[in-house]
């Protein structure tokens, strides 16, 4: 067996070949195999060192909030015609749910009266239609840059966001359209009449 034939078999990926006949006969390949062995051991040490790495605890708390929000008001995502992968749309809708949960129920002080966005507010946010910017909207840009998805949201949540919505029961689901920025973050919402 030539050296080329030996290495073409990718022997470093198969421990049984570490003691192959060619390695015993070829000092150069034996040295190179030793380097491969040292590399494999080093990678193993890196793997052991990083075994304890995990996402920060705050993420578990955030996801738990999202889980609870989803249990309280499951959000269905109708089929989208926007070309987004299905999972991406779901992630974005759930992100919207998180926004609602975080901003309306937990991290915001009680709001005395739900505010309905004025036409001026909408215009100042550069949205061209009747979309109402979400509190977390951080991306700027025109509606042409955004993607739209349809969701069902509790009426009370829409009212608290300042979205004009017809009278009805607070928990009643209302069909709405969420505008997603280029990064997939929810930017604005409007009710579908």
């Amino acid at each position: 067996m030539t050296c080329r034939e030996f290495w073409d078999r990718m022997p470093e990926l198969d421990a049984e070949r570490l003691s192959s006949e060619h390695v015993r006969e070829c000092a150069d390949c034996a040295a190179q195999m030793e380097q491969q062995r040292a590399l494999a051991m080093s990678l193993r040490r890196v793997a052991i060192q990083r075994n304890d790495l995990a996402a920060p605890a705050r993420l578990e708390e955030r996801l738990l909030e999202a889980f609870r929000a989803n249990q309280a008001a499951p959000l269905e995502v109708p089929a989208t015609h926007l070309g987004w992968p299905g999972w991406a749309a779901r992630v974005s809708v759930l992100a919207a749910a998180m926004v609602l949960g975080v901003f309306l129920l937990w991290r915001r002080p009680p709001q005395p009266v739900p505010q309905v966005a004025s036409p001026e507010t909408v215009a100042s946010a550069e949205w061209e239609s009747d979309f109402v910017p979400l509190p977390s909207a951080g991306e700027s840009g025109s509606a042409e840059d955004a993607n739209l998805i349809r969701v069902e949201m509790p009426r009370a949540a829409l009212v608290a966001l300042g979205v004009p919505v017809a009278d009805g029961e607070a928990g009643e689901p209302v069909e709405a359209e969420v505008m997603l920025g280029m990064g997939g973050a929810p930017q604005a919402v409007r009710v579908l009449q």
């Binding site: 494999a40 990678l43 890196v46 990083r50 995990a54 996402a55 996801l63 999972w87």
Partner: protein, 210 residues
Amino acid sequence: MHDAMVMESSTAPEADDELLRQMRSGDEQAFVALYRRLQGPIYRFALQMTGGAAVAEDVVQEVFLALIGSNCGYDVSRGSLSAYLFGIARKLILRHLERSRTAAEETIEGEPGKRRSLAHPDPMAAFLHNETMDGLRRAVVSLPKRYREVVVLCDLEELDYTQAAKLLGCPIGTVRSRLHRARGLLLEKLQQKRAPVGDAGAWKPVRSLT
């Protein structure tokens, strides 16, 4: 092999599926248990692929938000839950890497010769100051992504070739050849940077591959 990384072991997938079933019936503790079982490997995969803790955190978040969603597309007949979530994570990671690459190229437009240094901010200099493990970690991150992901999956997360091939959607032979090439590149990177500091004999490239 890591506990949660055993994608096709005899017990873990069934346990994950049972937790998922309980989670979908509203069991909060089941969700927490499932999250704690699976988040670590996904986080490490994302961290090693992107080199950024914030990005890795975002990836984990989006993966589990997708799982929480009522339209989660997991199909037990097509593989384990772990593999399904890793597939989502991989798509997110590749999308992030593509965006980052595009941003870097836009930033350095008209400045030839700086592209490499922006894509991987001076990993070579780090070798001179951070021997052994830290240098190796950086070398892994500096690999081209198709080689990086096989090293991360097979060498760091210890998937076998079959599991990695399933996750990457390619033949086992492709996984092996990429891993072969990746290890050769790692040795070359280590050798190139160790030689100037008088350690020339320590690392040699195996050979010029492909």
